[in-house]
Symmetry: C2
Subunit: 142 residues, 2 copies
DNA sequence: CTTGCCCCTGACGTCAACGTCAGGTTTTAG
DNA sequence: CTAAAACCTGACGTTGACGTCAGGGGCAAG
């Protein structure tokens, strides 16, 4: 399959695919005229790459771990690297969960009039919204 | 408190604190000679800023939502923004969890003595991952 | 033949959250 | 009083994962 097709299929840009190759993450056969040809399995590999990028791994780390993750084969060394990254991701998940809960608390609280966090009486929602827009004292709202 | 103390206390660099001020996230009083003075509450605010940055929010978004998150007061508009960000974070957590599980599967599998070697068939993968997941509960968000 | 689409290789541009350096002033310790 | 430490503004540098543009080639359809 050609690079444009792979891009469409995997949802990334053509530029990104060439970048992955440059980083040693994705190899391609070349046709006589020098055009890249990918096997069907490349789509899955690209998905993995995206997955690992999204988890904050660097190109270098992905290059090291990708064969291992794709083939499900690990050496003792790669296992240690994998575990380290998994722990990092776990920590990230924990932090994000705390942040999510913090936002949730603020959102949910506005639905509890008894808590005292509603600073405007709730008998007229529309008026409340207008007042909120005009009176909201965000110090450096631009 | 002075900028160096706040930096030490909140674990960020002096440069970062000045950057936050530049972005309208953190205000400071000025002494006669122009040096920044922060109230004790600034440390908590910096923690919040870090928290939101780590969740992938931009400076502009943080500037909009920070007063609301810190004071726990929300307007209908800010509530919508907050909910949108919370949903984004939820999606991020879900994706990270899938990635973590993928790494975990590779790690756990090679540690199972029954396989006797570094790789095992696809058929065994899901079964063993289930077994391993049941045996040692991986740290789970939520 | 030429039109249009896809492909190629450089190579420079971008954006965000700071790092770092220069050159000067203020505060603190002894 | 003096020297070190901390602070100030301003401005340029860094990093990663691409975006974008320039300049050129190949190839099937009309």
């Amino acid at each position: 399959m050609r690079i444009g097709e792979l891009a469409a299929q995997s949802g990334v840009s053509v530029r990104a695919l060439r970048y992955y190759e440059e980083q040693g993450l994705l190899e391609a056969e070349r046709s006589g005229s020098g055009q890249r040809r990918y096997p069907a399995s490349a789509a899955e590999r690209v998905q993995l790459i995206q997955m690992l990028y999204a988890a904050g791994l660097s190109s270098r780390t992905i290059a090291e771990l990708l064969p291992c993750v794709e083939s499900r084969v690990s050496t003792p060394e790669s296992r240690a690297r994998l575990a380290a990254e998994r722990d990092r991701i776990d920590a990230q998940i924990a932090a994000l969960t705390r942040t999510r809960d913090r936002l949730d608390a603020v959102i949910v609280m506005s639905g509890l009039p008894a808590s005292g966090c509603m600073w405007i009486s709730d008998h007229d929602i529309t008026e409340q919204a207008e007042m909120a827009g005009g009176l909201n004292g965000s110090p450096d709202a631009r």
